[in-house]
Symmetry: C2
Subunit: 201 residues, 2 copies
Amino acid sequence: MSLRHGLLGLLAEGPASGYDLARRFEEALGPVWPAQHPKIYAELSRLAGAGMIEVDSRGPRGRKAYRITDTGLAEVRRWLAEGDVDHTLRSESVLRSFFFWLMEPDALREHLRREQRFFAETAALARTYAAAKDRGDFGDSMQTKSMRVAVEAAIRMYQALADWAEWAQTVPPAVADTGRPDEAADAARAPTGPDEPAAAG
Amino acid sequence: MSLRHGLLGLLAEGPASGYDLARRFEEALGPVWPAQHPKIYAELSRLAGAGMIEVDSRGPRGRKAYRITDTGLAEVRRWLAEGDVDHTLRSESVLRSFFFWLMEPDALREHLRREQRFFAETAALARTYAAAKDRGDFGDSMQTKSMRVAVEAAIRMYQALADWAEWAQTVPPAVADTGRPDEAADAARAPTGPDEPAAAG
DNA sequence: TAAGGACATGTACTTAGGGACACGTGGAAT
DNA sequence: ATTCCACGTGTCCCTAAGTACATGTCCTTA
């Protein structure tokens, strides 16, 4: 349940409304931890109920800004100190790659080109943020420095994926010219013996 | 709903039971797309209902092996051909990094060391699979080649994250000596004006 | 002054994910 | 003979995530 801690972490930087937090999630945390506003408002209520945040101020359009409490601050810190990190990297791009052999060579090439472009552009975008931060455009608070570290992760991951997509385009000749995809597919549908052992571990 | 397509993709390689598929998801697809057996069995029923798979054979302990149908095969192919790829990379590791400024310098250093080690080890493990495949240990079917491409993604992503964690350890001096973490936290709790504009986009 | 868009908060509903529980079988080793 | 373990399939329930819907306000611009 990292949304809870994401919200607390953002509120540790200063008071913010649900709307603010939704925007920050979309803009900054979105790529690594998506969250829509309904979830955020719901979680804020829960956090307020648990005494981890409290209403800091009320603004124009029913705006409610929340402030983190000592309890809330202790909770984020506890979460950060606790070592159990979930290391799964859900990636549909990589999931798809397991099944590239089912694609037509042309479609695959086109797909990889698109993926490469997307990842390269995203990496480039992250680099411009990093450059702005390094120039000091956002000040040099500790929060900004952490953000810089997070952006560096984005740069490296997206660049790695861009490189991967580029590299994969050099492989397809081998993938493509092994035979028609339908051979294997026919084999799959044929009533063969029950098992083949799982391949990779 | 990629679980559905993951299952269809695996079944395109040949008939398999829910148990087999659960194992393959855990062993091969786990890091990029986790799925537990209850979800898998449920989804298999749904797929069978939709005529995308059918029972291929029954084995010893009530074992049911499924086979993909032409409808099912068409559906995976449709999914693969359709361009809408969800590019979010849910990563708790990176999410946490946004909040590194809330951690004590020592704990942070230790955390980063652990992360680096984990990612490096995972990358190394992926490399041994890649090497085995390159030696031809798993044959050279098209499926194996796709798997090799997927493994390459794992290698590069995990290596990127390992490098990132290592790099991050060289930054902390700056993160650490900017001031006591509690200053900012105190500021967060202080009843200041409602807003500061969201920083990064 | 009318209209459009950003601001702002929520509810309702549906699906996905994950853990706990439940049950039974076949084979291998003690 | 018994015991243990891997095999094998499922249900139940709670939480998380995501989409659609609903409502209203303030400000700017045509």
